[in-house]
Amino acid sequence: MKKLLPYSFLLLIIFAAVVGFDVLPPSGYEPVFMLRSEMEKNVQLDEPRSVKNPGKIYLKDHLIFINEKYKGIHVIDNSNPENPENVAFVKIDGCIDIAVKNNVLYADNAVDLIALKFDENLTAVNVVKRVKNVFPEPVSPDGRGLSWQEKQAVPDDAIVVRWEHR
């Protein structure tokens, strides 16, 4: 009986190698892509909207910037701390991080780093600098990257901008 055990184990390994098993469970997330040209064009100042999936928060003078994960940045006017006012939303696909220096807002636009400047009345925003492909494509919340099937299914210049629950 003792001799049978290693042989049985060996047979099991051979069987597993021949038949094959999916070792990893399927991911609960699927990628959403944008063509680079669309992604760059889609950085816009928009109407304020409610905070749904907040990320990082940055305070600069009387403004609070709250990241809406993978979607953009809420701009909150905190001139009156008793009554902060949600004044705008900057659409930035794939954005999960923000920083501000010298009145320039830096954010990640999926794989790009962009620098934004608002006008005085917060009615317009301009991308003053874009450094392309400095970040890796975002991985899913459960930690996976793109499978080869996903890579081959999308156009060559498509970029992952977020992951959505299936």
């Binding site: 699927e30 990628p31 959403v32 892509f33 944008m34 063509l35 669309e38 889609n42 816009q44 928009d46 659409k91 696909d93 080869w148 099937q149 996903e150 081959q152 299914a153 999308v154 156009p155 060559d156 498509a158 901008v161």
Partner: protein, 212 residues
């Protein structure tokens, strides 16, 4: 058991040795054969052999067809059709046929496959003013074009008068392209028997046929 193994391993040599005394010349100019192992790959291959000259050099034209309507143990696609052709310049080392005839052959090969399989396809949609691309599962058709060439060494046995068996081994190279990706890709290029294999490979097999 040991004797059987030795007999099996040296069977070709035993036959060759026998030939020396049983040399027989055959005036043959045309042959037709089949390669049964192609059935494993859901294919059928028929070899047409045409004698080119008196130096016992032959042209082999080998058309192939492939048809599979179900997944099998080798592949898990939904269905597949294909065709191919291989050309070989076959040079027998003996200018006249004996019972056993060593040869070498080389030539180009081409295959086309149309594979229906479940895959991911890109779907564009508009959301919040932006144009996004999502992936949906769908049956997709992949057209694969495979080019390459083989160099083989073989032994051509005459089993009976005109019936022959041909055992060959050799090496080859393949370059595959498809209409879904640019360049090489993984799904149909996982191992040497895959439809879209690219790389070098060992070829080998057995043919049966008749010569006239």
């Amino acid at each position: 058991m040991k004797n059987i193994l030795v007999l099996f391993l040296f069977f070709p040599l035993l036959i060759s040795a026998q030939n020396i005394t049983e040399e027989k010349t055959k005036q043959l100019t045309f042959g037709v054969g089949v390669v049964p192992q192609y059935a494993i790959l859901n294919g059928m291959r028929i070899d047409f052999d045409y004698k080119l000259n008196d130096k016992n050099q032959w042209l082999v034209v080998a058309p192939q067809v492939y048809l599979s309507s179900d997944p099998n143990f080798t592949w898990d696609y939904n269905s597949m059709t294909g065709f191919g052709i291989e050309l070989q310049h076959k040079v027998f080392l003996n200018k006249e046929f004996k019972t056993v005839n060593p040869y070498f052959a080389y030539g180009p090969t081409f295959n086309y496959f149309s594979v229906q399989d479940d895959g991911l396809t890109a779907r564009s949609y508009n959301e919040d003013g932006g144009n996004y691309i999502g992936l949906v599962e769908d049956e997709m058709t992949t057209r694969i074009f495979k080019f390459g060439g083989n160099i083989i060494l073989g032994l051509h046995y005459f089993l009976f008068d005109n019936l022959y068996m041909d055992a060959y081994v050799g090496t080859g190279i393949r370059f595959s392209y498809d209409n879904q990706t640019s360049g090489l890709h993984g799904y149909y290029n996982d191992w040497w028997a895959d439809l879209g294999y690219s790389g070098t490979l060992m070829v080998g097999g057995i043919r049966f046929g008749v010569m006239f």
